[in-house]
Every structure is written in C-alpha cells, then in structure tokens.
C-alpha cells in the first residue's frame, strides 16, 4: 500500500504516514479501501496545508520557541556574566561609585534584573525539562536520554573543572591555566546547550503543557531588554566618568562591549522566540 500513500502530499506524509501504514497493516485491504485512499490523497492535495496549521504545528512552533529562548538566555547569560566583572577589583569600583553613585545603582540594577530573569528561566524551564526526561524514561527514548546524559556529563565536568582549579590554585603560568579553563568551560557550555536543546526539541509535548509558556518567555525577554539597556547606560557612564574601570584583572573594554553585544543578541533571539510562540498561540485561538 506504500505506493498509494506516496500519492499523498509530502507534508501530510511527514505527519501521518507511519501511523497510516500501521493502521493499514491491521486492516483488511479491499478495492474500496484503495479507492478511499486515492480519494483521500486527492483531497489532501487540495485541502491539506500541513505545517502551517493545526495543534501539532502549534505545539511544534511553541516548542521551537522554547528552545530558541533557552539558547538566547544562554547567550545573554554569557554577556551578563562578562558585565558582572566590571566591579573587579572591588576597591577601584567602590572609589568610582563613591564619586558617581549612579554606577553602583546601575550595577546593582543589572544584577537584580539578570537574577530575576534567571529565576523565571529556572521556574519555567525546569518543569518542562523534567517532563522531557520523565517521558523519555517512560518511553525509553534513546534520542532524548542520550543528549540528557551528555548535558548531565557537561554539568558534572564543569563542576569538577571549577572545583579542581579552585582547589589547585596554580601559581605559575596562571593565564595558561585560566585560558584553558575558559576554553573547557566554553566547550562544555556549547555542548551542554546543544544537548539540552535536543532534549526539549525531541520531546513530544502536549498542548496544555506549553499553554502558558509565553508568560515566562515574555518576562525573560523584558528582563533581557532592561538588562541590555542598563548595561549600555552603565558602560556610557563608566566611559565618561571612570574609564579606569574598563581595565580589570581579567576583562577589558572590548570584552565588556562583547558582553553587551551578547546580551543584545540574546534579547533579539528571545524576541524572535516569543514572536514564534505568540503566533502559534494566536493561530490556536483562531482555530
């Protein structure tokens, strides 16, 4: 019967072919069945617009929006973490902040807004991640469990690397070790991010599980935009009144600008993700 199924549109087959073939294996095939399938194929060509419609598409769009938000938040987080180094060494920052209190306010506000975004990210993301893992374990879905194992391995390796370098405290070739540590952490972060994205992307969520996801996505986007604006303002004030702060122990001016670029990119991707989820939500309401 596969030849008749091949008469259906590709989008339709991507969605229904497997289950239709499983059904046909259980049915008694008669000429009437074959005629019905041919009529169904013609009808699907005329009326099925596949990937732009339906609850499945809505779930897929929202799910990809979740993955995009996750990746965007990681990019944003890297930039945000770079900006947090602006008060290092602390005495220099405190001296500058004493003369220009707004620097302290901006730095504190940036810290708080970033933390709020992170809390929302965890509160919304952890339940979805838990659902993914629980479902994958119930179904013994290797395509999800494998990236989960990799993500877990990355988290453990990051902990071990951080703990190791903190315990070891090398006194010679410090920058070599520091750069090696940063390189390892960057590789682990990228690998872990890809792995977690695959876990979420390969999970079949139900519509009700993703129903309210645009609420935290909106909150995360708002926190990202506010944090990016605060960072720009902070950097302008520092450049004007305390340029000595731009050269710290391990981060300098260009890296702070890179941090702001990362934060801005995170905010832009997060906006695109929200637009994707929001569009899917509207489509479901229209349906």
């Amino acid at each position: 019967m596969r030849w008749i199924i091949r008469c259906y549109p590709r989008q339709w087959r991507d969605r229904y072919e497997d289950e239709m073939l499983a059904l046909l294996e259980e049915c008694k095939i008669t000429p009437k069945t074959m005629l019905d399938l041919i009529v169904g194929a013609v009808d699907a060509h005329l009326n099925y617009s596949g990937i732009t419609e339906g609850v499945v598409n809505m779930v897929n769009r929202v799910r990809s929006g979740v993955v995009m938000t996750f990746c965007a938040f990681i990019v944003f987080g890297v930039g945000w973490a770079m900006l947090q180094r602006i008060n290092d060494p602390v005495p220099n920052f405190q001296t500058a902040a004493h003369a220009h209190p707004e620097l302290n306010v901006l730095h504190g506000a940036l810290l708080i807004v970033g933390c709020i975004g992170f809390v929302v990210f965890l509160l919304a993301g952890m339940p979805l991640f838990f659902v993914s893992i629980k479902r994958a374990m119930e179904q013994r879905k290797k395509s999800v469990l494998l990236p989960f194992g990799i993500a877990l391995g990355c988290a453990l390796a990051a902990l071990l690397a951080t703990g190791g370098i903190a315990w070891w405290r090398p006194e010679r070739h410090v920058y070599v070790y520091l750069l090696s540590y940063l390189a390892v952490m960057a590789i682990l972060l990228i690998t872990g991010t890809v792995a977690v994205s695959l876990v979420v992307a390969r999970t079949e969520f139900q519509a009700r599980e993703l129903r309210l996801v645009f609420v935290p996505e909106t909150a995360i986007l708002i926190s990202m935009v506010i944090a990016a604006l605060l960072s720009i303002l902070s950097l302008i004030r520092i450049t004007s009144y305390a340029p000595q702060l731009l050269i710290t122990q391990d981060v300098n001016g260009p890296l702070f600008i890179t941090g702001i670029v990362f934060m801005a990119l995170g905010a832009i991707f997060s906006g695109l993700a929200l637009r994707r989820s929001w569009g899917a939500k509207l489509k479901s309401v229209e349906g």
Binding site: W12, R15, Y16, D18, E19, M20, L21, A22, L23, L24, E26, C27, K32, T33, D36, L37, I38, V39, G40, A41, D43, A44, N47, Y48, E53, G54, V55, V56, M58, V59, R135, Q139, R140, K141, T203, E204, F205, Q206, A207, S284, E286, G287
Partner: protein, 106 residues
C-alpha cells in the same frame, strides 16, 4: 474552507469526535469503536482525512507515543463542538420524530 466547515468529512468527523469523547484512541481503535457504536465502517483514507481536519481545527490533539500507533484525544474545544452538534442532531431528530408521528397518524 471556513474554519467550522469539515466538507465531505463532516460525518466522519462527527463519528471521530464521538469516539474520542469516551477516551483517547489510536486510528484502528477508533475504527473499531465507530463500527461498534454506529455500524459505520470507516475506511483509513476517510478516517485520516477527518483526523487531519480535526487536528487542524484544534478539536483533537495527538498524544505522545513511542510506537507507530499514535493515540488522539478530544480537546476542550472539540468537546464544545461535539456538544453543539449533538444538540442540533437531537433537535432534528425530535422534529423528525414528531412530524413522522403526524404523517403516520399517531
């Protein structure tokens, strides 16, 4: 096509919604259930034509499955639509019954 129209699949869609009202089912289970409660043998092409339309409308949704037999369930919107259709059919049946009684002199 209007979002509330199901074209030539309206009867099949009504049967699918009625079948799923008693719980989630995959394609073959739906066919068996529909045959049992209505006497209608839906062919696979017609069944999946109806399923794709109902999914498009958001009246049913697919559930996660680790096998090729994917179960479906009726959504809250689907239940509302089914309730309306049943009410309409009951009204039509009631009118038909009373007119039949008049015609046949009961």
């Amino acid at each position: 096509m209007n979002q509330n129209e199901l074209g030539r699949f309206s009867d099949a869609s009504f049967l699918v919604l009625s079948s799923l009202a008693s719980g989630s089912k995959h394609g073959y289970a739906m066919m068996e259930d529909i045959l049992q409660f209505s006497g209608t043998q839906l062919e696979p092409g017609t069944l999946y034509g109806a399923i794709s339309r109902l999914e498009k409308q958001g009246w049913i949704e697919a559930l996660p499955s680790d096998s090729r037999r994917r179960p479906y369930r009726i959504t809250a919107l689907g239940l509302t639509v089914l309730r309306k259709q049943v009410a309409t059919l009951e009204q039509v049946a009631s009118v038909g019954k009373s007119r039949l009684m008049q015609t046949e002199g009961f």
